[in-house]
Amino acid sequence: MRNPLKPLVEKFGLPRVIIVSFFLFLIAAAGMFHMNLMQLLSDCLRRWGMYGILALAMVPAVQCGIGLNFGISMGIVGGLLGGLIVIQFRVAEMPSLVAVHPLFAMWVAVLLAIVIGVVLATGIGYLYGLLLNRVKGSEMTVTTYVGFSIIAFMNMMWMLLPFTDGELIWPNAGKGLRNTISLAASFSNVMNKTLAFTVAGVTVPTGLLLFFFLMCFLVWLFMRSKTGMAMGAAGANPMFATAAGINVNKMRIIGTVLSTVLAAVGILVYAQGFGFIQLYNGPMMMGFTSVAAVLIGGASPKKARITHVLIGTFLFQGIMALGLPVANQFIPESNLSEVARLIISNGIIIYALSQVKGGSGRE
């Protein structure tokens, strides 16, 4: 025990220690450059809520035994479709709803989008679960490419789907939906603005965080329900679960559907916070970002908890929020923070994969 850091490293894993140190370093650097720390912290909170639910989608996936779900794009496209339908019908601008309160109309719009997204994601997730039950042991490889494929497939669909609203399609008789669709007229920042308050320069997006925590709570509650317990058992030890009379395949489908549904909700929460819906290749790497976030929080391909989501998303998004302005102080107008994102998010995934050692012991 010569090195006092050693137990710490062993407990949290080397990458996490590095990432926490890096985060602290960024805070120190931001302080040194006399940046507006309070504003940066507001940014951290905003990003935390925005990305949180997408990372939360990993929890049921890992717990039910399919591992890190790189294919959350399956759910994301469901959510995006929900958002597009709501914009198409201009729900947020319906006079009867706006008459109550403009914010109310926006809430109706975003919740309706979420409901449509959830319905679509349930269907997609069920089919996806059926596929994953047939590829046991290689889920991660398959999910990644199935996720990429659905994005590429939807790229064609975005060109062909019969949306007509001017907000959605290219102007000047162009073909297909726009790359980025502004939500200013529908539900942009609806959660962020609700009950938001500013304390000592820190803006707290109360509505957003409450929604995020509500989702976490619901997942937490589900994991403690009878089905949730059975699902956890099926994921942790399929043989044992089968012996105990649990239908492992069914549990895996439930977990996959739940993960896909959360992804659909997550992308809408992300979109409202961002103010735009990104189509085409925009959501391609969302799976990687979410996986990296839970892994930073301490999850592994076999174990993920809600605390991992909370800690991991905050750290990862905190680094992203602080990284850009700090990097710009070192080298102006550079995309150093983008490079850092690539290295950190993919580095942590590689680390996690290299810890698995032979996967399910099929050697």
Binding site: K136, K175, S354, V356, K357, R362
Partner: protein, 495 residues
């Protein structure tokens, strides 16, 4: 036994189903695109020359059981680092290209070693690991090109560096340096160099045998040398010399030469068989001359030659000009892949690919074999990327490598390869099909939907979709196969 053959037949049908599906898709898209073959075929041959090498570099890891090597992106990065430096040093022409190859090789060996070491920590997850590793390396690559070049290592070259002096420009023009360096090596030079190499080879092997006090087959050596001299001598005939002094070969000439060589080869086999059957008392076991096969070949050659007189085909054939040296390199790699599998190392790779447990029991160093396979693949991928870049003529610093792995793997799979099985033939067939689709799909999209973007999205979807499908089928088979059977196979191998 019966069950097994059924499974094999299903496999066979399935693999051909993929190829057939793409064949239909290619033909359909070509017709839909309303493009003449005189446009599609030359374009296709350009793309074959560009992309074959890197696709062929995927075969070794598949055989070694490491699946589709998404890590070839890292080999491509090694190539780009090397080409950046040689461009910076101002090396040009074929010499510059050779220097780039020489520089990229050690970098790629080092990277391949690291990747192989890492893959040993994630056995069974190599493919997802390789993919993520590619993105990770992308981060490091950008760090190198955006900040370290110019920031840490001072480089003064306004053509290459951004105005601020830190970071490399988005595109680097290779027009005045190594563009077409390999493609434009004249055939005459190739023949000459080949002649000297053969002579040196013969002298060396003879000397080696004499030193080792082995029997020297004087007659065979002299015949080989004489043949080489005759071929070299032919190049001094004026028309032949004029024909060979070109750097590109007309596809028409290539087809004619191919027919001629086929006929000559069959004639040679026939003569050799006659000569051997006269000395039948010698117990040299010569393969019997297959008359039917020979006639089939000769007839085929004649038919192909006859077809070149069809005007439509003739127009296509004179429109394509093959870069000879590049195609020779591709052929050499095919040969290398085959020869490697006949060596002890190749056999070890195959054993490791079939079962690591068995390989370990047989005394093969599994981890080391896997690392070697990765080194081979990474180095070959870096050469492949260099061939690609010298043909394209511009280096898109931050984009040239990003899609390399995905497109190469998709091409391999379209040819009927799978995660566990890949051959040269599948790779080449896959390149032809995949790139035909690549050429015509935007045009077909424009004709069918009024927008080329749909075709572009379609080809991207195809490349992702074919990979996803192949991975899923592989995993499906692996999960469906009872564990006992794989153990049984393993024991049979060991015995």
């Amino acid at each position: 036994m019966n069950k097994k053959s059924k499974i094999n037949m299903w496999d066979f049908l399935f693999q051909n189903k993929v190829v057939l599906m793409f064949l239909v898709l290619c033909i359909g898209a070509t017709i839909a695109s309303k493009q003449p073959l005189t446009f599609v075929i030359p374009e296709l041959f350009t793309r074959i020359a560009r992309n074959s090498f890197i696709v062929l570099s995927l075969i070794i890891p598949v055989i070694a059981g490491m699946g589709l090597n998404f890590g070839i992106v890292i080999g491509a990065m090694a190539a780009q680092v090397a080409i950046f430096f040689t461009t910076y040093w101002g090396l040009t022409g074929f010499g510059g290209f050779a220097a780039t190859v020489a520089l990229s090789t050690p970098i790629a060996v080092f990277f391949g070693f690291l990747v192989g070491k890492l893959f040993n920590y994630m056995k069974g997850n190599e493919m997802i690991g390789g993919l993520v590793l590619g993105y990770f390396a992308e981060g490091l690559y950008q760090l190198l090109f955006l900040f370290i070049f110019g920031g840490v290592i001072k480089l003064n070259n306004s053509d290459l560096m951004i105005v601020t002096g830190v970071g490399v420009k988005n595109t680097i023009d290779l027009k005045d340096t190594v563009k077409y360096a390999l493609d434009t090596v004249p055939m005459l030079t190739i023949v000459e160099v080949g002649f000297y190499l053969i002579l040196i080879g013969l002298v060396c092997s003879t000397a080696f045998k004499m030193v080792k006090k082995q029997e020297v087959d004087v007659k065979a050596t002299v015949i080989k040398a004489a043949a080489a001299v005759v071929v070299y001598g032919l190049t001094f005939i004026k028309p032949v010399e004029r024909f060979l002094s070109a750097d590109r070969l007309l596809l028409l000439s290539a087809v004619e030469l191919g027919c001629l060589v086929t006929v000559l080869w069959q004639a040679f086999l026939f003569v050799r068989w006659k000569a051997q059957s006269r000395r039948a008392d010698e117990d040299s076991v010569s393969e019997p001359f297959n008359t039917q096969k020979a006639i089939a070949y000769v007839v085929l050659a004649a038919v192909v030659y006859g077809l070149t007189y069809v005007p439509a085909l003739y127009n296509v054939l004179i429109a394509v000009r093959l870069p000879v040296m590049t195609y020779l390199c591709i052929g050499a790699l095919c040969g290398f892949n085959n020869i490697l599998m006949k060596t002890r190392l190749g056999q070890n790779m195959r054993t490791v690919g079939q079962s690591r447990t068995v390989a370990n029991a047989a005394g093969i160093n599994v981890d080391k074999t896997r690392v070697i396979a990765m080194i081979f693949s990474t180095v070959l991928a870096s050469w492949g990327q260099l061939i690609f870049l010298q043909n394209v003529g511009t280096l898109s610093t931050y984009g040239a490598h990003t899609q390399v792995g995905q497109f190469a793997i998709a091409a391999l799979l379209v040819g009927g390869a799978s995660v566990q099985n890949a051959t040269n033939k599948q790779a080449l067939l896959g390149i032809v099909l995949f790139h035909t689709l690549f050429i015509v799909s935007p045009l077909a999209g424009k004709e069918l939907f009024g927008d080329p973007a749909i075709g572009e999205y379609f080809r991207v979807f195809v490349s992702y979709g074919v990979i996803a499908m192949s991975l899923a089928m592989h995993a499906w088979k692996k999960a469906a196969k009872p564990k006992i059977e794989s153990d049984g196979d393993g024991n049979a191998e060991a015995a």
